[in-house]
């Protein structure tokens, strides 16, 4: 039986790394849970409401997108559209060329990871520097983020100190405060020399055309204080109908992502800087990125477009906690990634058809999701899709079920199996000839076999005087 790629990957993770990812995610999850329940009588009702609002947005993008475009334009923002990753990168490059710009500072944006922006620009002679501390470390190591909110959850301070030393950022020192101060000093110069500040957007209000960007470090703010041109890459699903809806989303996002009441810097940007303000962009561009989002919209998994990228489903997921982000071979890891990443592959869906199986379907991801995405349902729909399309990876790791199907559809075979099962109580477990069963018994003990008890009970249970079957309430067992 071919094993799932994710199971193969996990063998290469050190025990130390696994323990730190496990602990980091668990602590954040528990704090999130406490904060929500301390602050709200019924946080679940808020999640459901936020989910309804985002589902409404997703199902009305045909009217909201032209509306928000008009609003942005009337605010003095130049609006661009990119249907593919390549077009989105080219749009950024085009804006920079037109300004003669060669240096870009980047705040954290998942869309830019998705479209491979930094590499694209660097191949064209443009310096594109990550400014979020974690993303900066990912960049100097030529690595990939392993968590949506905490990109270097997989790295130790020792590894970071070694990277800083290699990059000429000072002699080896693994004190997190020293690491942070060194990054502050280095990136500060880069902010002040840069021509363009690139950000994503957590939300865009259709009503006002405000982009809402949240960071804890202040890197987005710094790039928008130091540079003269702001480019925002925005997935087409990032809209909220009204400013007031942000009251719900900002509260849920900060608590879900980092167990904060509110993220440190929450920026509301509706256009270029005010005339009297000496700092900040005189020119502002918004690039709406499709990159297969419209395919997801047309699919039976469009609910995933509600996602606000908080990472709560990663932190709670028993699979993510063990395997960590790189195991998902995608920009988006964890439960949300197991749904979104295969869909964003388009006609290469089969390459990631195993990801929807990287779940025990325990449902925790749905329970913590601030927009109440039914992730387990979507995973099942994608498992079906993998089967329908005969994707080989959709079969990987599945025990052969043919014998089971024969047995379960023949009453005689079933009865025989129930009796034969009793043998397992007396024979050594290692004799069990079924590989899937062996995988289970290698690490767990089986309870005593009691097959057939239910059938016996069903036959012998008391009946009513008129001969009809009794209801469980009317008889003592």
């Amino acid at each position: 039986m071919a094993r799932q790629p994710i199971d193969q990957f996990v063998e290469g993770i050190s025990a130390e790394k696994r323990a730190s990812v496990y602990l980091g995610t668990k602590v954040t999850h528990e704090k999130r849970d406490k904060l929500l329940h301390d602050h709200y009588a019924d946080p679940d009702a808020l999640r459901r409401l936020a989910g309804e609002i985002k589902q409404h947005v997703v199902e009305n993008l045909d009217t909201y997108l032209p509306k928000v475009e008009a609003k942005l334009q009337s605010n003095g923002v130049k609006v661009h559209w990119a249907s593919t990753a390549e077009e989105a990168c080219a749009a950024v490059h085009g804006i920079m060329k037109a300004r003669g710009a060669t240096k870009l500072v980047k705040a954290k944006t998942m869309v830019s990871e998705e479209i491979g922006l930094a590499d694209y620009l660097e191949h064209r002679g443009i310096e594109a520097l990550e400014t979020d501390l974690g993303e900066f470390i990912v960049q100097i190591d030529h690595d990939h983020p392993s968590h949506i909110v905490r990109p270097i959850i997989h790295k130790s301070r020792k590894e970071i100190a070694t990277s800083f030393e290699r990059e000429g950022l000072g002699a080896y020192n693994d004190d997190p405060e020293t690491i942070t101060r060194r990054a502050r000093a280095f990136l500060r110069k880069k902010f002040l020399q840069a021509d363009v500040g690139l950000t994503g957007a957590n939300f865009v209000s259709v009503e006002s055309g405000r982009l809402v960007i949240v960071t804890n470090e202040g890197n987005s703010r710094f790039s928008l204080a130091a540079t003269k041109c702001h480019i925002a890459l925005v997935g087409i699903e990032k809209l909220v109908p009204r400013d007031r809806d942000l009251g719900l989303f900002l509260n849920l996002l900060a608590r879900s992502a980092t167990a904060q009441q509110l993220t440190v810097y929450t920026e509301f940007i509706s256009g270029p800087k005010a005339a009297a303000q000496p700092d900040g962009p005189e020119e502002m561009h918004v690039i709406f990125v499709d990159n297969r989002r419209t395919e997801v919209l047309a699919s039976e998994c469009r609910e995933i477009l509600r996602c606000i990228r908080c990472g709560a489903c990663l932190n709670v997921c028993p699979v993510y906690r063990q395997v960590s982000g790189h195991a998902y071979r995608s920009v988006y890891p964890g439960p949300v990634g197991a749904v979104l990443s295969p869909l964003l592959e388009g006609d290469k869906f089969a390459d990631k058809a195993d990801l929807p199986k990287a779940s025990s379907l325990c449902g925790a991801c749905n329970e913590v999701c601030p927009v109440n995405i039914p992730i387990p349902d979507l995973l099942l729909r994608l498992r079906n899709k993998g089967k329908r399309e005969h994707a080989p990876l959709a079969e990987a790791g599945s025990p052969p079920m043919g014998a089971w199907a024969l047995m379960a559809s023949s009453p005689a075979a079933w009865k025989t199996a129930l009796v034969a099962g009793k043998l397992m109580n007396v024979l050594p477990k290692t004799w069990i000839p079924i590989p899937a069963m062996k995988a289970w018994t290698d690490t767990r003990t089986l309870p005593e076999w009691r097959g057939g008890e239910f059938r016996k009970w069903l036959r012998q249970r008391p009946r009513k005087a008129d001969g009809t079957k009794g209801s469980p309430q009317s008889h003592t067992p």
């Binding site: 301390d38 199902e59 045909d62 804890n216 130091a226 719900l248 980092t258 920026e267 303000q277 700092d279």
Partner: protein, 204 residues
């Protein structure tokens, strides 16, 4: 050849066309977003100060208190919004060098920056800055200490009320405590790109 815009919008319409009906926009009462720690009452400064402390921010109730704080740490060189300076000048002894023009070529020379906040949110300990009220964005961000001068009457009780008064300024920013990160092994470090000390100064 159609533009990317037309292609995307056409794909969106095609994707949504088969839906028998669209999910409606739920109406909801803003009070639902209020958390258990949102205060009420006429004077919101005490509640704001308590919430600011909870996010490691530093409330100060007078210019004298501010000067004592800065002096104790040896932070003697800074910037002050020229409109605020006349009211604060008397509290600063001659050992301080306070500039009323911010030079971006020397951002690291300023140990503190004093600028005006247009409001504050008591529920979250948040300071509200905007473009028209802030003399320079960099002065409120680059120095190690940012001092936001706040008027008592501009403090709103909760986040939902603050959303209702965003107004027409192109750039509003809510600042909730000092700049921070937990990227390295989940350990909290303050003062990443922005201030390591976030002060709210009450102007009365």
């Amino acid at each position: 050849m159609s533009s990317s815009r037309d292609i995307i919008l056409e794909r969106v319409r095609e994707a949504l066309a088969p839906l028998p009906k669209r999910a409606p926009l739920p109406e909801w009462d803003l009070s639902r977003a209020r958390s258990a720690v949102a205060p009420a009452g006429a004077d919101l400064w005490p509640a704001f100060a308590a919430r600011l402390r909870a996010v490691n921010g530093t409330p100060v109730a007078s210019p004298d208190e501010l000067v004592a704080l800065l002096g104790a740490k040896g932070w003697h060189h800074g910037y002050c919004d020229p409109a605020l300076w006349p009211a604060l000048k008397a509290a600063f002894p001659a050992t301080f060098t306070v500039e009323t023009a911010f030079d971006r070529e020397r951002v690291d020379d300023y140990q503190f920056g004093i600028t005006s906040a247009v409001g504050a949110i008591a529920e979250t300990g948040t300071i509200v800055l905007n473009d028209r009220g802030t003399t320079t964005r960099l002065a409120a961000l680059a120095p190690w200490v940012h001092v936001a001068a706040i008027r008592r009457e501009n403090i709103v009780p909760d986040l939902a009320s603050a959303l209702a008064v965003l107004g027409d300024d192109p750039n509003v920013i809510w600042v909730t405590g000092p700049s921070k990160t937990a990227d390295v092994e989940g350990i909290l470090i303050e003062g990443v790109h922005g201030p390591g000390l976030q002060v709210a100064l009450l102007l009365d």
